[in-house]
């Protein structure tokens, strides 16, 4: 069965260019993957720009983007679709994955390892050369159009081994690694996002680097670029930098009193 448009694609287009500063050749790799119909896996810590990259690529390639935030209770039916009752009859409702396949969208499954294990299996036939989506309840096999692209993201840092992706899933993708950007690039991003002066942005990035060095030494994860942007916005709104860093970074990262004291000491050293 071939695909057919079921939605107004324009609703899913990103109209304004999202701010994204490439840190490597990720844009080229993604474009190649699109051209070659290879699904893409984005790996990286929280708040490093994976979702923003997807928005940017959707805008860049002029393809509609459908994002699914995965969670513990996400089932196959939530992705593929289900029958609903309307008045005296049942009607089929496509799930976001089916919608994306039918309409040639980019489907972005955010934090895929959070979803139930059986859910990931449904994407297997979509991710190899078959590029089909079987819908058991309809008895249909939908062939994905060339424009369709499946992208998933996950954070290997804080996921436990049990939440890791199965090799059979992994090996269907090409992977783009999103570690935190280089200090100067990250400072530019914070500067652009929060309109804070460059010197203060550089100090924020320095603080973030110091917290990242403490991962496994009191912190589970260091400060993300997203946290820096939040903090920079606080400073930009007139908050004293030390106070902004405490609220925006130190107290967010941990509840352990000793580590909080240490983070406060870092802030005192830098600001």
């Amino acid at each position: 069965m071939t695909s057919e448009n079921t939605i107004d694609n324009s609703k899913y287009f990103i109209k304004d260019e999202p701010y994204y500063l490439p840190t490597g050749n990720e844009v080229e790799i993604f474009n190649t993957a699109l051209a070659e119909n290879i699904p893409v896996l984005l790996k990286g810590p929280t708040g490093c720009g994976k979702t923003r990259f997807m928005e940017y690529m959707s805008w860049y390639t002029k393809r509609p983007l459908i994002t699914v935030s995965c969670h513990d209770d996400l089932t196959t039916a939530d992705l593929v679709g289900r029958y609903l009752i309307q008045n005296d009859t049942t009607v089929w409702q496509d799930g976001p994955l089916t919608t994306a396949v039918r309409n040639g969208c980019i489907c972005y499954l955010d934090e895929i390892v959070e979803a139930r294990k059986d859910t990931t299996v449904v994407i297997h036939p979509l991710c190899d050369d078959r590029r089909i989506l079987p819908i058991e309840k309809l008895g249909q096999l939908i062939q994905a159009p060339p424009d369709f692209c499946l992208t998933m993201s996950y954070n290997p840092g804080y996921q436990s081994a049990v939440k890791d992706l199965k090799p059979s899933t992994r090996q269907r993708f090409i992977s783009i690694d999103f570690s935190y950007p280089a200090a100067d690039v990250e400072a530019k991003i914070v500067n652009q996002e929060a309109s804070l002066d460059m010197a203060a942005c550089e100090r924020l990035v320095k603080l973030a680097e110091m917290t990242r060095n403490l991962v496994g030494n009191g912190l589970d994860e260091g400060a993300s670029t997203r946290l820096l942007v939040h903090t920079a916005k606080l400073i930009n709104r007139g908050f004293e930098p030390k106070m902004a860093c405490r609220c925006g970074i130190a107290d967010v990262l941990t509840d352990d009193p000793e580590t909080v004291t240490l983070l406060h000491e870092m802030i005192e050293t830098l600001f």
Partner: protein
């Protein structure tokens, strides 16, 4: 809780308030008379015998007579410290007792705490002779410090982590050699930062604290700005111009590192400027105005110029020293470390290493150990002048490498809150299967238990049912035809009926592993033990229905080298008769060294692959062991062990019978991770209720 701790606590309770007051006031013992409610000589003797052993041949009666002259709080302090010291070294505990009463009456609280910290640090690092020296020289501590004094030990944790966050490698902080000429002497060998033991340079605490931080960052600056690259030129310069050359270089290099601090750490630089004000220093701000600060060559170049000029640079209060011998030696070792591991027998150092029994393999070990010691966190004491790596103690190293091969024996670290460091491989834990076979267990027919079992089953059945197809849901995978037909045929035509016409499949949603850690200390003897056994049995019996992975381990022990866990049911076993037999053979043992047990059981639980992993600790009191593992020490170590469990993505939960548990559990675990059980007869039902809450 341990067997003896009850007795000891009775002795202690009365004095808690006065002790606390005394600590706050920091008053001298001589101001409190010997008749301030202290223990009698007989009581003291009994306590000393408990610690040092009966018939030890020591003049315990003499010690008791001396200690009897002290106030109750100080008497308690002596016992607590003697216990801790005896764990480290029995002989030193005896030496301490010989001088304790005299020393404590001479010193203020801060001073004797400092004194004991020095002794313990020396013992932990194996410097027994130094420890004896510290004990003998107690009078030298009487002139030390006041409320403005800042001690390195109080800042070590924060400063080390702060340095780590910048340097990305461990740079342990250690005490510098005492120097009467320069009490603020600080230096580094590029692997350890040596700082003064205490600082009381300024007449306020804040400035002294700032000074510590400035000194630390100066040393870090030496490493980051690669000051050691100048060693060759410096030696040459000293040969031609004498020590004046090094002195000039030190001042200039300090200014160069200041520029690095000013640029990279503006907050700290502000603090340093405050130090300039407090020390009334006319800081030469423009000294580097036109110089390129990229490398240490700039400093060397300026040093040469300065020697020919009349410019006089001030000596800054936070100026660190350059120990050229030390730096050169470590540089050499670092170079060798980077090179293939081939020993060069032609050098002095390697000669010494090779001198360890003439066995090349042992020489390798000596070499490796010296590298480890020069970097590892076990280094607490500064090296003497002309330091070379210690190659002695081969036997100890041998023991260290072989002790880990004992079957069923595990070594775990322990957090020493006074040292603010982990004691590596401090606790020796053995898994022991209780072989006592319980012949007949007549619990099946007990009426009360049948009732409890019924209640637990009911609770767990709800859980099991929750996992199946849930009909009549507002959202789900399938249409619930029955619900729809019912809605259609309902006379009420309630629109809500049409909302809930789906079936939700929750199968496989439940993925739980739980580790029950049961406190089997002596204080659980009697009916508490019976209730624990019955609860565990009921739980195991009913949990088998749930399909959840679960394990049960008891824990107890006596002292750090005799920590025990008793496997009752492992994760790989199913509930069988032998498990039941092991449950009913659980009996009270000795003490509650909780940290090591939590670390071991966390490790086992961490190996499971469940989505939800719960470490469920059932205890009747606070952490307590025969040695100094009690009070703040035990609570802090247990807190760290529980934090380590959280870092492994485990969910710790403590159920306690201890009515005083609210004093320390919120601190140890944070909110909603503990519960107090007041009626122990309700234990089985309580556990099942909590289990339901934790796993859904």
């Amino acid at each position: 809780m341990g067997l003896f701790s009850g007795l000891l606590e009775k002795f202690d309770q009365f004095s808690k308030r006065s002790w606390s007051y005394s600590r706050k006031s920091g008053s001298l013992e001589s101001r409190q008379t010997g008749s301030s409610g202290g223990m009698s000589t007989n009581e003291l003797l009994i306590r000393l015998e408990l610690i040092m052993g009966q018939g030890s041949g020591l003049p315990l009666m003499d010690y008791s007579n001396e200690i009897a002259k002290l106030s109750h709080p100080l008497q308690l302090f002596i016992f607590s410290e003697t216990t801790e010291l005896s764990e480290l070294s029995y002989e030193h505990a005896n030496e301490f007792l010989q001088v304790a009463s005299t020393a404590l009456t001479e010193m203020e609280q801060r001073q004797y705490e400092r004194w004991l910290l020095q002794i313990k640090q020396a013992l932990v690092t194996g410097n027994d002779a130094d420890a004896s020296e510290h004990i003998k020289n107690h009078s030298s501590y009487t002139s030390e410090g006041d409320s403005n004094t800042v001690y390195l030990s109080d800042l070590t944790y924060t400063l080390e982590k702060l340095v780590y966050s910048i340097h990305k490698a461990e740079l342990p902080l250690a005490e510098a050699e005492l120097s009467s000429k320069s009490p603020l002497m600080s230096y580094t060998n590029n692997e350890v930062l040596y700082l003064p033991t205490s600082i009381s340079h300024f007449d306020n605490y804040e400035d002294n604290h700032r000074l510590y931080k400035a000194l630390t960052f100066q040393l870090l600056g030496q490493i980051q700005c690669e000051s050691a690259d100048a060693i060759g030129t410096l030696n040459e310069g000293i040969r031609h111009h004498g020590e004046k050359y090094l002195s000039f270089f030190s001042r200039i290099e300090t200014l160069r590192i200041d520029q690095y601090i000013k640029h990279s750490f503006p907050g700290l630089w502000r603090d340093i400027e405050l130090l300039h004000e407090s020390a009334k220093i006319d800081y030469p701000s423009d000294f580097f105005a036109s110089a390129n600060l990229d490398s240490v060559q700039t400093s060397l170049h300026l040093t040469a110029k300065l020697l020919e000029s009349t410019v006089n640079l001030p000596k800054l209060v936070y100026q660190s020293s350059f120990q050229l011998d030390l730096m050169a030696h470590v540089q050499k070792l670092t170079g060798e470390r980077k090179a293939p591991l081939i020993l060069n027998p032609t050098t002095d150092v390697d000669d010494e290493i090779l001198d360890t029994l003439g066995d090349p393999r042992k020489a390798d070990r000596g070499y490796l150990r010296s590298l480890k010691d020069s970097k590892g966190d076990s280094v607490l004491k500064s090296p003497p002048p002309g330091w070379i790596p210690d190659s002695s103690g081969g036997a100890e190293e041998e023991q260290h490498t072989t002790k880990h091969h004992e079957k069923g024996v595990f070594y775990y670290r322990e957090w020493d809150t006074s040292l603010k460091k982990y004691r590596k491989d401090w606790c020796r834990l053995r898994e022991t299967i209780d072989t006592d076979v319980v012949e007949s267990i007549d619990v099946e027919n007990m009426e009360a238990l049948r009732h409890a079992e019924h209640r637990i089953r009911k609770t767990f059945d709800q859980l099991v049912n929750d996992q199946k197809f849930m009909r009549g849901q507002s959202d789900g995978d399938e249409i619930d035809i029955d619900a729809w037909v019912s809605a259609r045929s309902s006379k009420s035509k309630d629109t809500d009926d049409y909302q809930n016409v789906y079936i939700r499949n929750n199968t496989n949603n439940r993925d739980v592993a739980i580790m029950f850690a049961v406190d089997l200390s002596g204080s659980t003897a009697g009916w508490k033990n019976s209730m624990i056994k019955q609860s565990t049995w009921l739980l195991c019996k009913t949990l088998a229905r749930m399909g959840d992975q679960y394990a049960v381990y008891g824990f107890s022990g006596s002292g750090r080298s005799n920590c025990q866990v008793y496997p009752v049911k492992t994760f790989n076993e199913s509930y069988t008769k032998s498990v039941k037999s092991r449950i009913f053979s659980m009996k009270p043992h000795q003490y509650t060294r909780m940290g090591v047990a939590i670390r071991h059981l966390s490790m086992l639980l961490g190996k499971t692959t469940a989505k939800t992993r719960i470490l469920f600790v059932l205890t009747d009191g606070r952490p307590d062991d025969v040695d100094s593992y009690r009070g703040q020490y035990g609570v802090e170590d247990t807190r760290l062990a529980l934090n380590e469990a959280k870092a492994l993505s485990l969910k710790p939960f403590v159920l306690t019978f201890d009515k005083e548990g609210m004093d320390y559990l919120p601190y140890m675990l944070g909110s909603s991770r503990y519960q107090l059980i007041t009626d122990i007869s309700q234990l089985p039902i309580q556990i099942s209720t909590i289990y339901k809450q934790l796993t859904t």
